[in-house]
Amino acid sequence: MTGSGAGAPASCWSCAGPVDAALPFCPTCRAVQPPRPLDHFARLGLPVDFALNIAELDRRYFALQRQLHPDRFATKTARERAISQSQAVSLNEAYEALKDPLERAIYLLKIKGVDANPDGCHTVKDPTLLMEQMERREALMEASTPSAIEALAREAASHVSESEAAIAAAFAAGDLDGAGRETTRLKYLVKLLEEARARKARLTAERSSAA
């Protein structure tokens, strides 16, 4: 496949004129165009890079949704409503994939041709990582007060930030293997953090209903 934007223009479904493949609207008649196959970064007009300014991501996402969300097409033809829906779906997919650092790392590795073992169900080859995670999990299972769990959750949260920084550094250095290894680690850390939060919520709820 050639890069987006280059080559022959597509034909606008509404006025039948030429329209550049990357544009969401026909430059002639302004009719909304179906989403083209773009990577998530290109769809939001961002450089392909792990280091991402979240405020900039939000700004671009909001600006595009303002133009493309189905709410803008409520009085338009059925076809335009359907196209706007698929545009909004593509934007949401891109936004969700880029907003979260873990998802972004997995996606970036994927488009660079590295499988970061996203399902988490394959064997982990790194024994240090495995030991580290097993210990943390045990600690979480043994913690029985909300404050003990809170302390573990805080610790996990700071490990998550460190891991994200390590991934950013690896990508910046062009070290895809390192980025891949650290992404696997981040996946475990995020899961641990979620479990800690869920366990704390359960415990707090039990206590407040018992009180």
Partner: protein, 620 residues
């Protein structure tokens, strides 16, 4: 005479006056409903002669065949409670089986369930579904608004609890259709309230909406930024509200006086309980002597007792708040404000508990009974007249499929922005398997039987293969109204079979058609008017496209060719001003043929330009 109107590209001319009716916002509540309209950003709540905006969501099906809605129906509670239906919203989208587990004494007698399993009520000789009862309420709201404004009303934004599942949303949509209203959008109640607040105050930052109505509780966390209302997380309970307080108080009174209790007694006692509850928001004590059935009794209730009775429900709401905040990773202190919505937030203990939990006084400066309708009206105007504000909502509950062993495989997680589409591949587990059952569920639990079943369907025509070889792709799509469509197809052999699923407790198309025929005299007229309006929109789109193309590339045509196109455009314009849908469609087709050659030349020019601009050296 002007043949060809030239507009700015993308701008359609204003629709003909009177062509479409007004678009309103409707808060279809468990206890009361409210209608509002927005014009040029100014909102107006529709009130009756006495100045009241609240229409009780109560319907009486008289033995004389007359259907009464609102205050008139509520008065019937005293004389003929057996003919009256209230709090129907709690049964929207529910199956006969679910209702048994709803808990509390239902003040209804259940009839035989509908074909699809939807619960139905037996009212005297009549059997009605929740969809029909809601349609009766909506029809009254529509009529009342048309009288108040002196104009036809045919489109509406209707609000639903954020926590409403897919079946309840579909049921609400169906009810509107039955009442002759086109639903522009289903908007979540807390989001509508945020819209009313945000636009009012121009606020930015994180806001939490605590919405406790008659039958539902919703808690939503939103980010407001330059006219964008982004829902970050939402939670709630579709069966928790002021009604529960009433039931608890009524039960207490029944216990005090002893004896047996009939469904009609319950309805009357609930009214007394509500009066007691509402009085205690103003005064420290309440007492009354009541006569229900053959028994007279005296009861008193003070505020402290009321508060101890209702406290468990409020604690449940706060547990939900805590969960939503944690989901989003937000501390209560980070909030810019907390907004109270829903009639039940008038209860003093609610305000106190919320203030205590969030460590600040909540905002309640817009009437909590009317704020949701006001937000819905603003959204109705935004959708029809255009606006700079944008609502970005999320799915309230995870959506998934049943897999081996009764486990749920989640396809779309809760709090995912909508619209959304996701797909996952599954495979067969037996050699030669040619069909696969697909069971769609909604909920957060891991086991299927703890989630809500939305529908089942089967995919047939899978070519026989060894186990694990087939690739069945199941796609979930949730639109901007929060409505789900599921389809499946087998991909390995190119044989594709697919089916879209409707939730189990919605109405089938046949049932809907039957109801429309039976219950609405002007349904056909409504439908015709809508199709005519759609044909006009499409025709204007076509004229607009050609006009823009002529402005951009008109030089590609000689005078004769240009004349032919102008003539075809004029014919479409003439057809649009008439009322013949087929003539409009035919004129658009002629226009498309007349511009075919023009389109080819434009594409040629575009391709030449692209090549010349980018790849000059590759020209041959």
């Amino acid at each position: 005479m002007q043949f060809l109107q030239i507009h700015e590209p993308g701008e359609t001319p204003l629709p003909h006056e009177q062509e479409r009716g007004l678009a309103v916002g409707i808060d279809l509540g468990t206890t009361n409903s409210v209608v509002a309209i927005a014009r040029q950003g100014k909102t107006e709540v529709i009130r009756d002669a006495a100045g009241s905006a609240l229409v009780p969501s109560v319907v009486a099906y008289g033995e004389d065949g007359v259907v009464r809605v609102g205050e008139a129906a509520r008065r019937e509670l005293e004389y003929q409670p057996e003919t009256v239906v209230s709090s129907i919203k709690r049964l929207m989208g529910r199956g006969a089986e679910d209702v048994k587990t709803l808990g509390g004494t239902l003040p209804y007698e259940l009839g035989p369930p509908a074909e699809g399993g939807m619960v139905r009520l037996k009212i005297g000789e009549r059997v009605v579904s929740p969809v029909e009862v809601s349609a009766d309420i909506l029809r009254t709201l529509k009529d009342r608004t048309e009288i108040a404004l002196g104009q036809n009303v045919d489109r509406a934004v209707i609000t639903v609890p954020a926590y409403f599942d897919d079946a309840a949303r579909t049921a609400t949509r169906d009810a509107a259709r039955l009442a002759g209203l086109e639903v522009l959008r289903l908007v979540n109640e807390p989001t509508a309230a945020a819209l009313a607040y945000g636009l009012d105050s121009g606020s930015e930052g994180l806001y939490a909406i605590y919405d406790l109505g008659g039958g539902t509780f919703d808690f939503s966390l939103l980010r407001l930024e330059k006219g964008v209302f982004q829902v970050l997380a939402t939670g709630g309970d579709a069966a928790l509200g002021g009604d529960d307080f009433d039931h608890a108080i009524a039960e207490r009174f029944f216990k005090e006086r002893g004896g047996t209790v009939s469904a009609d007694d319950t309805k009357q006692m609930l009214m007394v309980a509500r009066e007691a509850k509402e009085t205690l928001s103003e005064q420290p004590t309440w007492s009354a002597r009541i006569a229900i059935g053959d028994v007279q009794s005296s009861h008193t209730l003070d505020r402290a007792t009321l508060e101890s009775v209702i406290a468990p429900w409020l604690d449940r709401t706060l547990t939900i708040c805590r969960g939503v905040l944690e989901d989003a990773g937000v501390e209560p202190a980070a909030l810019g404000g907390i907004v109270l919505v829903g009639g039940s937030t008038r209860t003093l203990l609610v305000r106190r508990k919320v203030a205590e939990f969030f460590g600040r006084e909540p905002l309640a400066d817009i009437n909590p009974d009317e704020v949701v309708a006001v937000g819905a009206a603003l959204q109705a105007e935004a959708l029809t007249a255009g606006s700079d504000t944008l609502l970005l909502d999320v799915t309230p509950l995870s959506l998934g499929l049943e897999t081996m062993g009764g486990l749920v495989e989640k396809i779309i997680d809760r709090n995912t922005p909508i619209p959304v589409a996701k797909a996952q591949e599954f495979t067969t587990y037996q050699d030669g398997q040619t069909a696969m059952a697909i069971h769609v569920v909604q909920g957060e639990r891991e086991m299927v039987d703890q989630c809500r079943s939305l529908g089942r369907f089967e995919l047939h025509g899978i070519p026989p293969m060894v186990a694990g070889a087939a690739r069945i792709r199941v796609s979930f799509a949730v639109d901007a109204d929060g409505l789900l469509t599921v389809s499946a197809q087998e991909k390995t052999t190119g044989v594709e079979a697919g089916i879209a699923v409707k939730p189990s407790y919605g109405l089938s198309e046949d049932e809907m058609a039957e109801m429309l025929r039976a219950s609405i005299d002007n349904a056909r007229e409504d439908m015709d008017r809508r199709l005519l309006a759609e044909a006009r929109v499409e025709a204007r789109r076509a004229v607009n496209a050609v006009s823009s193309a002529l402005v951009a590339d008109g030089d590609l045509l000689n005078a004769v060719e240009r004349g032919a196109i102008d003539q075809a455009v004029a014919a479409v314009e003439k057809a649009i001003s008439g009322n013949d849908r087929d003539a409009i469609g035919a004129s658009v087709e002629v226009l498309e043929q007349a511009t075919q050659q023009f389109a080819e030349r434009r594409m040629d020019r575009g391709i030449r330009a692209a090549l010349a601009g980018r790849h000059v050296d590759q020209l041959r």
